[in-house]
Subunit: 367 residues, 2 copies
């Protein structure tokens, strides 16, 4: 972890989607407090703690102890690390394991880990007994600033990412900033793709801020959660188009992830590539100024995120994956552009030619 100093504050962001209200707690050494906070959130019964093998090794025991100390029954459920665990096979195994270990209608699920664990365990909680509560405990930058908040859960199909899932808002989110200290450099960096995205679509000041010392990290995470919350509260189920703006960089990013094979590129790495392509498309179709485009690319490079497709990935296959995922109406798709750094718009006039133009920008130069 780069340049972080101790920040003793417990920061709280409250999310109110209309259908549900919950708090996001952000702070140091929160794992130890999770049992107490869950009690205060009116949770009871058994805590079914789901994590992946890596996270369980680091934080499983601390978390289990915190729940036990607060008087909860617990069960633990460990999945393999990595995007491949976001599958029907893993949901099945998890639900059968819940049943075997006595997880019942009165229990709740605890998703301790990164985006994959949050999506998988959140989805299992959404469908087990037709829905039991889930507490999200994100342990990566990406999960803390983005995926743990907002209630989207899901798994992948062969045909595409997150094609199956539920909207299932958490009962609470606990982002323990201390857990980020065990992230590898690549995992740390990939999380900042989503932070850069927030800067691009609604708060351009974030981009210069990311080049200064990040400490206290809790403050940055809090700001990201507030931004995410504003989109989610306004449009919980992505019906009005506003929540869709959060998909900036994701249409092409998802296609890249799919073609590369899930887990080859990290989600944030694919999104970084998708954002560069989307920024070039924005310059061509929506008037994004050249200096704004450069600032986006510069932020991406600052976090050592990729700016060119891996050489084995053909542009044509990425384009085909976009076709498979998106609906073309008269040769045009809906697409999120940024007309000016700090703003975003959902337009429906992006053509195949425009997409090709964007993909050219991330084409590795032939040497």
């Amino acid at each position: 972890m780069v340049g972080q100093t101790m920040d003793p504050l417990l920061r709280t962001v409250t999310i109110n989607t209309g259908s549900q209200r919950y708090s996001v707690y952000i702070g140091e050494r929160l794992l130890n407090e999770v049992g107490r906070i869950c009690r205060e959130s009116s949770l009871s019964g058994r805590a079914a703690i789901v994590s992946d093998a890596n996270v369980a090794a680091h934080y499983g025991q601390t978390t289990a102890t915190a729940f036990a100390n607060a008087g909860f029954k617990i069960s633990t459920h460990v999945v393999a690390a990595g995007e491949r665990s976001k599958s029907f096979t893993d949901v099945t195994t998890l639900c059968e394991d819940f049943a075997r270990q006595g997880v019942d209608r009165q229990s709740f699920v605890v998703a301790l880990g990164g985006g994959v664990v949050g999506d998988l365990a959140g989805f299992a909680a959404a469908i087990y007994y037709r829905g039991i509560p889930v507490v999200q405990m994100p342990t990566t930058v990406m999960a803390q600033v983005d995926s743990s908040v907002g209630g989207k859960t899901g798994i992948n199909l062969a045909a595409g990412k997150n094609l199956v899932g539920s909207f299932h808002q958490p009962a609470a989110v606990l982002a323990d900033v201390s857990t980020l200290s065990t992230l590898g450099r690549r995992e740390w960096n990939e999380g900042f793709a989503e932070v850069i995205k927030y800067g691009v679509i609604c708060e351009r000041e974030l981009l210069p801020r990311l080049k200064r010392p990040l400490s206290p990290l809790g403050a940055l995470i809090q700001r990201c959660v507030e931004i995410k919350a504003s989109f989610v509260e306004d449009d919980e189920r992505e019906k009005k188009g506003r929540r869709a703006l959060l998909n900036f960089g994701h249409t092409i990013g998802h296609a890249i992830e799919n073609v590369a094979g899930y887990g080859t590129l990290f989600h944030g790495e694919a999104v970084a590539l998708g954002m560069i392509a989307a920024a070039h498309i924005s310059a061509r179709c929506a008037g994004l100024p050249a200096e704004d485009l450069q600032e986006i690319e510069s932020a991406i490079k600052h976090f050592e995120l990729p700016t060119k497709l891996p050489s084995e990935l053909s542009r044509r296959r990425v384009l085909e994956a976009v076709f498979a995922d998106k609906k073309f109406a008269e040769g045009r798709i809906r697409f999120v552009v940024t007309p000016k750094l700090g703003t975003a718009a959902l337009v429906d006039n992006i053509t195949i030619k425009d997409l090709e133009f964007g993909l050219e920008a991330i084409e590795p130069s032939v040497s």
Copy 2:
């Protein structure tokens, strides 16, 4: 089909759960009208028609033609008939097939079949793209009077029935009474277990009515849907206890189904056994008069439903399955009793001894 005469009326029941409002259409030869009715319900895009092999053979073509004639794109998806199809394996196959056949965010699912197809296709619709609309087209008595209405969808785990699922209200329900003419006698009869249940828990006049000619059948189905609707509207997610009254006979019924192996006994047959046991428990613990108990048993016999457990099923294993499914607090469980025919109550003081007493009543006599 017994004693039915032609009933040209289109009957409609409107369901309003607060979160959603939809209509149940009941009538003859409705399959031909489904495209038009779906258009009028503001559905568009592709209709993904899910049915089982038996139902597809009888009604698949008619339904597909009706959608095509109304200008819908269609795709068809056939699962194996029977309770075993309510599995994660089948949901996975179905969702992958949706993706392959171009079912997208703008599409809707059509569940053409009995309770299994309704539960399975309804659940797939609930989670595909985090939820697309479903139109229920029930083709069995059981599905028309009960499972197609109210939004419960789900699949079975090894550990128990319907342990995984979603609440997903349909966009519309079309109960074509004509389709009941192809039911076998056993399937026909099993559907009346749920009708008898409505009589027991809230409308005792239903029981004598069932012994008179059933025609017009549409009127009886309409009354059942109205009863179901009153419970669902009051308590969509079974939070307040009122919807739980619909589980009369189901606690022991589900245990019997589980122990027998899914598909051995029909759902209605297991519920009939569960109702007899629950009626005896009601006589012991809630003052159900002997003549009311007899009237329940008589209605069950009238539809040739079982009154004794199959000889290979041990009472002990059924009891163990109840233990596995229900939470015992200080040796007592929550259980639906009928203190008087036409009424029901959720009580929490039923003991293991009481359950054993109920199970003795359905024990085959040793010969």
